[in-house]
Assembly symmetry: C2
Homo-oligomer: 172 residues x 2
């Protein structure tokens, strides 16, 4: 889990490229070129492309986890989620929608724990199916809206403010 400096560079470059071209559309050559090194140097850090995908996805999940676990109120959580999404609007956001990444998360224990804690903080004791749809919709709305062509030119702060207001409306 603790990344070396070189591993961190690989994951950062990979995350940006995954967002721009998709996971399947990103080659190790592209990652190496982005870093100004050869493919072999990248392979020295991760022994396969799958490992890089996993590391990049895990790094994003860890960020979300930090937000969820450091929040003590619903308002804090919503603000943290919006901040995270806005910060990654050009990079991480799209990657988390990639079919390959989604499939690897769907049954991941940590992912489910984070989502469970999120639902508990947002909706309390409500365990109905409606509550699940509501959490799913909130997550999708926040992470999806930041990448929509319609808002691509909005400054971060404007986007943040509007998203937060709407997120509150959705969950109230």
């Amino acid at each position: 889990m603790a990344l070396t400096a070189a591993q961190h560079r690989v994951v950062t470059a990979a995350t940006q490229l995954f967002a721009r071209h998709g996971v399947g559309g990103t080659s190790l050559q592209m990652i190496a070129d982005e870093l100004g090194v050869t493919k072999a140097a990248v392979y020295h850090q991760y022994k396969s492309k799958d490992d890089i995908v996993l590391a990049a996805a895990s790094a994003e999940l860890a960020r979300l986890r930090t937000v969820v676990e450091s929040a003590t109120t619903r308002d804090e959580l919503l603000a943290g989620m919006v901040d995270l999404a806005v910060a990654g609007r050009r990079t991480a956001g799209r990657m988390l929608n990639d079919p390959v990444v989604v499939a690897s998360f769907a049954h991941d224990k940590k992912f489910r724990e984070v989502m469970h804690k999120m639902r508990a903080l947002l909706l309390g004791d409500d365990h109905s199916r409606g509550a699940q749809v509501r959490v799913a919709m909130l997550v999708a709305a926040i992470s999806g809206a930041v990448m929509h062509p319609f808002v691509i030119d909005l400054p971060d702060e404007t986007l943040r403010r509007e998203l937060l207001a709407l997120a509150n409306r959705l969950i109230d």
Copy 2:
């Protein structure tokens, strides 16, 4: 725009595979195998992979366009959008989030027209930046929520009902 029967088969198979593996993660061999033919037979219908991506994306946009243009009230539009998303929850939904597809749509004239009409019907004369964020968030929420791991086991009708209620709450 009018597809032959063979072209329709190619686009249908491609859409399913794009949703499962991403655009970049889907090869022409996979599409050919899905159809039980050879790559050359697929190439006879479309002269490049890009053309297939474009045709699949256009078909989805055309569906959305039909919904938007046949709706006369806000409620009709929301219901149509939810129905479309639920119908394609296993196929089209994910494809429309692919970076390659999104990039091709961002400056597409028809796409922008559809989005414009959508905003007009949802929010009337409100042309503020907030209104744009609201439309972006609504689209993202509906199309993203149907694919979230949390709701993957919900029956279509339950998902439809919950989504519609929440969509109304977001736009009211």
